[in-house]
């Protein structure tokens, strides 16, 4: 389980959204004509042109505001459930790159029901383009395999986005976590053993995003969710999750 990993240190994120745009720039993704829906978070959700989205959430803590930013993207699971969901429909729809651990969808995903792929994902990441191709973060595999950092990491000014070998990122994650624990007792890493995109948060993950961790859905633990995803056919999983 070597390969590469991201560390997203949300305590460093200023929501400048450089990553959200850099992702579109490298991937040559377009943009929609959105509306302001009463939040700075826009587009409102991940979509076929948005593989990386900074989610904004505000809360009051001891009478003062806090504003959490969650630069959401594919977790590049160590054992990606979406791979099974897609492979159930088409061969060669997913490349699980051995070198890096990147989970990359190919053009062959066109026509695979995106709802089912999406439901297989504990983090609600995959989306479809207008032409039906299922898409998400590619870990900038083309950049990474050529010795460049992913676009969203290179662009980040504060060290919120980090990328490197899994060992490096795990070490960095532990170091940052230890440094934050004093000030933020709830600081934690989200599902670090199961994913290659390690999120470090300073508060209850549910305050950032409902899908921040795999286990936040009521009635189903993260481990259970992952296990079910691996052993159940994609369609059933989709139903199971919806019902759960």
């Amino acid at each position: 389980m070597a390969g590469m990993s991201f560390l997203v240190d949300t305590s460093r994120c200023t929501a400048c959204r450089g990553c959200q745009i850099a992702c579109k720039n490298w991937n040559q993704n377009g943009a929609g004509m959105t509306k302001n829906l009463g939040t700075h978070q826009n587009p409102p959700d991940l979509d076929g042109n948005t593989f990386k989205l900074v989610r904004f959430s505000e809360h009051l803590k001891d009478g003062k505001p806090v504003w959490y930013f969650f630069a959401d993207q594919c977790r590049h699971c160590i054992e990606p459930p979406c791979k099974d969901a897609i492979q159930g429909y088409v061969d060669g729809g997913v490349i699980h790159d051995e070198e890096t651990g990147a989970v990359v969808y190919t053009e062959k995903t066109k026509g695979v029901p995106v709802d089912e792929v999406r439901a297989s994902c504990p983090y609600d990441i995959p989306r479809a383009k207008d032409d039906g191709t299922v898409v998400k973060c590619t870990m900038c595999i083309d950049r990474v395999r050529n010795g460049l950092k992913p676009a969203c990491v290179k662009v980040c000014p504060t060290g919120a986005m980090n990328f490197g070998t899994r060992d490096e990122m795990m070490a960095l994650a532990q170091e940052r976590l230890a440094a934050l624990k004093g000030k933020f007792p709830k600081a934690q890493l989200l599902d670090p053993d199961d994913v290659r995109t390690l999120y470090l948060v300073t508060d209850d993950p549910a305050l950032y995003h409902p899908y921040a961790v795999a286990g936040v859905r009521p009635g189903i633990s993260r481990k259970l969710a992952l296990r079910k995803l691996f052993f159940a056919p994609a369609r059933n999983v989709a139903k199971g999750l919806r019902m759960g």
């Binding site: 959204r17 890096t100 969808y105 395999r145 290179k154």
Partner: protein, 193 residues
Amino acid sequence: MKLTRRDFLKISSAATAGLALGGCTTMGFNMQPVQEQAWRLRTQDAKETPTICCYCAVGCGIICHTDNRSGKVIYTEGDADHPINGGALCAKGAAAYQIARNEKRITKVLYRAPYSSRWEEKSWDWAIKEIAKRVKASRDKSFTVKNAKGQVVNRCDGIASVGSAALDNEECWIYQAMLRAMGLVYIEHQARI
């Protein structure tokens, strides 16, 4: 100038892609056959030109990647060598590409006649000549040699200028030179607001 690329990545295994075999398409990867897994950088053959971001005054370095054949910018990203931004950019800086390649850019001289409800396309030659005529007429008509107190002021009171903090230094300097030579005193720009 020398570009050194300080942002090279250490990859866990020594192997990175060597030869470029087949490109990746815009969306979704065209991998045939999948097992080959060779990834080509779309900027691989582009020419790199350093510039400085056009927005706030942090002065971040940006690298423009220009396609050798078309001469067009195909990608922009932070300049990893730049001591201030070290390759990082904000949302605006990261979108610089959409200034370089934007179909909404105005690419022809436009003219709106008095009381007209539309723009007309014009040539540069026509516009420069017409503007110069108007500058001269306005200046000659409004020029104040002496003020109300009888002091020599030699100024053009009938033309004003605003702009611009978006110009390069060299443009700013010749702009102020030509305006002051014409006698303008109402010279202002973004720094005042």
